[in-house]
């Protein structure tokens, strides 16, 4: 367990380091060195933008941009005054900056395994991560009493209620802990 943590820490340091590098150069290098889909990095890239983390992380966890494709983020950002029944409007300047961040880091922009899987063969423009086919497929066996019927979870939108590595971009089944149920290794 300890070993795993050290490994995770090292991984996240490496990914943070990489994402800090100039985007254009990094991308070209990346594409050359890692054939798409074959040598993709594990998980999803973590959030590295403080404005986004503040503005889009006040009502729920700041969803990692790599969890939705660019056209979904575009649609979501166009309707913030009625955002799943909430008002999440932003001043113009912040709106622009956040949209740019989301589009630059959406699934399919970087080479990450989970991001790639989430958008593979996707049709339409879903607004929810929890409606993506791969998401639905991976969660189909979890009974409703552990989600909606579970006051500590409430809905599938609360990734970080079950995925202990959600904010680091780590969604594998070894880092799942459903409140009131426990570890979920099958």
């Amino acid at each position: 367990m300890k070993k795993l943590n050290v490994y995770m820490l090292a991984m996240s340091m490496i990914t943070t380091g990489l994402s800090g590098m100039s985007l254009a150069d990094d991308d070209d290098e990346d594409r050359y060195m890692r054939p798409w889909g074959v040598n993709a990095r594990p998980g999803v890239a973590p959030v590295d933008n403080p404005l986004y983390r503040n503005e889009c992380g006040s009502c729920h966890m700041a969803y990692l941009p790599g969890l939705l494709p660019a056209h979904s983020w575009e649609r979501l950002m166009a309707g913030l005054e009625n955002h799943f029944g909430e008002n999440a409007e932003l001043p113009r300047g912040e709106w622009n900056a956040i949209l740019a961040y989301l589009l630059n880091n959406a699934a399919g922009r970087g080479n990450y395994q989970v991001s790639n899987k989430l958008v593979r063969g996707l049709r339409g423009t879903p607004l929810r991560i929890s409606e993506l086919p791969y998401f639905v497929h991976e969660h189909r066996e979890i009974p409703a009493r552990l989600v909606r019927g579970n006051p500590k979870v409430g809905s599938f939108s609360n990734c970080d209620a079950c995925h202990t590595g959600a904010n680091r971009g780590s969604y594998n089944e070894h880092q799942v802990n459903i409140p009131g149920y426990g570890r979920y290794d099958d």
Binding site: C59, E86, N87, A88, E89, P91, P151, K152, G154, N158
Partner: protein, 140 residues
């Protein structure tokens, strides 16, 4: 050795003192500036008691039939953490006396007044209402 530690402690106390001062000033200036702006937009003298009443007043949402108030997410005790009614995410305490980050940023205050008044009351708050609530919150 003893003197060295003492000096260190002194400077630590000094630094803590300065930063507390700065935080209090940041809060006071954001609140004071907003109160002045609300005044220019037509608010009369602010009244913290009216602010408290409005904060706790229960309103029935026209669409859902839900009972809503500012307390719904921020709880009855402003010194305790609140909980977002929809998502369950923890909201840090509202009272500046226990959370020094509160009410320090004019843009942030205005943004959440806009959102939360719409959600809770179904309309934006008037400058008078915002001044009253701000006066109530700033003293907590």
């Amino acid at each position: 050795m003893a003197i060295k530690v003492n000096r260190r402690m002194m400077s630590a106390i000094f630094l803590v003192g300065i930063s507390c001062g700065l935080i209090v000033t940041a809060q006071a200036s954001a609140v004071q500036e907003l109160l002045a702006e609300y005044g220019k937009e037509g608010a009369g003298k602010y009244n913290a008691v009216n602010g408290e009443n409005l904060w706790k007043r229960v309103q029935v949402d026209a669409k859902t039939g839900q009972k809503r108030s500012c307390v719904t997410c921020h709880t009855n005790d402003l010194r305790k953490p609140g909980k977002h009614a929809r998502t369950g995410k923890l909201i840090k305490p509202m009272a500046p006396s226990v959370n020094a980050d509160r009410l320090t940023d004019k843009k942030k205050i205005e943004k959440w007044f806009h959102r939360n008044c719409k959600w809770t009351l179904g309309r934006i708050c008037t400058p008078q209402e915002k001044a009253d609530i701000l006066a109530y919150l700033a003293n907590q």
